[in-house]
Symmetry: D2
Subunit: 296 residues, 4 copies
């Protein structure tokens, strides 16, 4: 039994906190939404009055927040997590944010004797609900081992990938590859259909060979049928492509395909498809090719 302070009870954080409470941990949570707090109570956790109340007695604090400004506010700002916790507390920030912010948080924590991990996840809402997330962890090996039992209540693939920020870098690499494969599959579909070839048949062949991918396996039928219920929204992938570009800038590397994929995802959002699944990159490629389709 671990005392867990959990900040950020959105579509990801709510089921994650519930899994921790269900596994017998003592979970104090906080979120600005009263609804979210009620769900936490119903799942066996305690609704805290504010951030400080949620984390003051915690052994481990988990934050699951939208982006780096929220992490800076909740963790670094005066009265935030770093001010409110006991020395020796372990902070696992499971938000997906820029590596440089994760590194800054780790440095700020170290000055106060707080151990920090960056531990972004993939697997989306479904993965959170089914405790089947992949968790990519950056930070010290000892801290990773200390947090592992909690992570095991949340996910299936739990990997220590390197030093502070490394979790975010791996997540960024994951998202650039995922976004890029969606774009490539979209271009394949548009080429096949515009050439008078049945896209389903064509993609079946691709899926069985060197072009095969998890995305082709899971999404080729829905893409050809123009079914784009999320899943993972283009708006969120747009945020993640921004992180990938920021990580590239931080690492001083040039990533030409990532630069273009970021603009295609931005186009998806700008064209009004931000709330569709990221497989709706197909609608961007259709758009530039003057082809229109009806979502089923």
């Amino acid at each position: 039994m671990t005392k867990v302070g959990f900040i950020g009870l959105g579509v990801m954080g709510t089921p994650m906190a519930a899994h921790l409470a269900g596994a017998g941990h003592d979970v104090s949570g906080f979120d600005l939404s009263a609804d979210a707090l009620a769900k936490l109570t119903a799942a066996g956790g305690r609704a805290a009055a504010d951030v400080a109340d949620a984390v003051a007695e915690a052994d481990v604090v988990i934050t699951m927040l939208p982006d780096h400004p929220q992490v800076e506010q909740v963790v670094l700002a005066p009265g935030g997590v770093l001010d409110a916790v006991k020395p020796g507390t372990l902070l696992a920030d499971m938000s997906t944010i820029r590596p440089e912010t994760s590194i800054a948080v780790a440095k700020a924590g170290a000055l106060k004797g707080i151990r920090v991990l960056d531990a972004p996840v993939s697997g989306g809402q479904a993965g959170a609900e089914q405790a089947a997330l992949s968790i990519m962890v950056g930070g010290e090996a000892d801290d990773f081992e200390a947090a592992r039992p909690l992570f095991e209540a949340l996910g299936k693939t739990i990997v220590h990938v390197g030093p502070h920020g490394a979790g975010q870098v791996v997540k960024a690499a994951n998202q650039l590859v995922v976004g890029g494969i969606y774009g490539l599959v979209a271009e394949a579909i548009v080429l096949l259909e515009a050439s008078g070839v049945d896209a389903g048949t064509g993609l079946d062949v691709l899926a069985g060979g060197l072009a095969g991918s998890r995305i082709l396996e899971l999404k080729r039928k829905s893409m050809v049928a123009r079914q784009f219920q999320p899943g993972f929204r283009i708006d969120l992938h747009h945020k993640d492509m921004g992180i990938a570009l920021a990580a590239a800038r931080q690492a001083d590397v040039a990533l030409p395909m990532t630069g273009l994929v970021a603009q295609l995802v931005a186009a998806g959002r700008a064209m009004g498809y931000g709330s569709l699944d990221h497989s709706a990159l197909l609608k961007v490629v259709e758009g530039v090719s003057g082809r229109t389709s009806e979502e089923v």
Copy 2:
């Protein structure tokens, strides 16, 4: 037992013709290389004196040639296959060429009563040697069924994907996706390494999730180790990206990622890596990021 005329006994055609002979078919082959003809004889085939001699008595003609100019020369030019065969012969062109040339060959064949299939393959030299090719076939369904027994001696995945040219379109779609995934994985590796993250560990995580692909499965270890023995050479992929762009132009679609992938593959060739495996796209991304690596 089918009488097969086989034109083009290169690294692909030689094992393919041998498989056909081994399966009991009567194979007459032609190539400009005396060595290639000797190999055919050793495999149980007959070395023909020229194209006309190879195909004059054939029920089925198979061509396996480098690119569209060779197909135009061997098939369409005066004295070529269409002039030399009996009416009713079935021509399966297994070369990877532009869809528009396949369609033109089919039309020219139809005028002379010659049935034509386009049947490009994927799987490379290893696939040809192990009779494990994927074969993507465009043309009439009856003709596909007629050729199927021969194809089954050459490959494992044999799919009729649509009308004349459809095989080439599917092959083009396959190659643009494969090239693109190599580029994306290369960018992931460069980002990970430049950020101080162990690329092998990071790619293991990617391979297990939505970013997973056949390429990550088969090639991530060799890419991280900078082992680029082909496999499938960048020079050949460069040719195939030209076909993909030509197919897009023919279909009047815009494929932004394909346009960029084509230039990255062209860069691989221009930078002197044309004879390396196409996974050596990694060296292009390293080059633009000022990172150098030694091939092991």
Copy 3:
């Protein structure tokens, strides 16, 4: 007075042939269009019965054709220009085609004692009508000097840029820069407008500094006003981007921006703007940014 055979009397060729006739040359022209032949006669030229008739007595043959297949047909095919002219004739192909075809034509000409220049033009229909074309000439210096008086009746900037094919390479370089600047200006306009900045005012500033260009000077007002009457049609620029990519392939270089510009121009055509001025690349960038505008 020079005897000129002129093949290809389209929107460019018709005024060009008329200028030559008007300058006192003896022009025999041929085109499949009877209308075009009538215009030539009206301008003081002679309507020939076929290609051979047009060129048989010529000192200089000028061809002005849509693309390389037409040049191959008219010049290289049996009965074409090379078969019909006298040895020593000078052939100036003013079509915009791939450099490799220009080189092939020059080689074929050399075998028959025919001197060949590639001499593509820029300046469009207006330039042709006003005898104000820019003419980029590849081939031997002596042949260039021999043709110069004719070129001076057609254009204002007449430059010998290098050996056979060099004219086409310079034209290709010109078109990739022009297409790219249109794309960049389009992105500037979309960024300014979407940010609530008056695009006209913003572009005025750009036009006065290092971002300045002939295109900003001539077209910024019409682009902001969404006036896209050609000028030079996107369909033609699409053809020219294909030539630029073919030239890059021939020269074994990678041109990343050209690869993308080619797809943006292809998008313009695919989206239905092929008959608009190439400045309508703005509509492509607007499209991917979910912004729509009415052409005035």
Copy 4:
């Protein structure tokens, strides 16, 4: 005579502050560099002890800082400019930063009765030294008119382009166009040279037609000669491309060419050319094309 507080005396700020002092204004300046303060004193200004000392009595404050974190620190942080000035002071931030920061500064100023302009410049060090900058100003028209006499001591083209942030947006648009044209010219040069065409001759033709630009006019000779002394360093252009992408993200538009240009500029920096002139994008395109050149 205006009392001016000037913060940021780098390669741009030092000559700018000197021009203001030379025009008879009462300039109090601050910078962390003692050298810079000495230069200000030599130019007739007063070396202030800190930011507050520099701005406390000022009528107009000018900030000329590297990027948005410095602006946030100097202007917004406790004890910064907004805390130290008198109500009614006019703050002209001439730094090149993200539009969203300029807007945030303007809002923070408004809360304290401070009038704010964003007024980024182009023209580089030479423009600063010669008082020949272009100044793009966002904010209220009255405030622009109030600051105009000071701007006229610094630049030649002074334009009020719109509301708060508009100056930054125009600067961003300028930089994406400039970076893009360098890339296009670089690709033209590589294509010409690799095709065996004299690049100088070819670019002369381009410069005289629709492909013409200020960059071709000023830089084509130095680019062909591989002379890359700055001018404006790639490192700075890399920063500016980040701003352009941030502005696009803020405005919710997709800019495909800008996305690619940003990566090409990043490549220039990553390849080690960060301190060369931005025309050294040529070295990036040469690099991907396997072509090397010696800087003269």
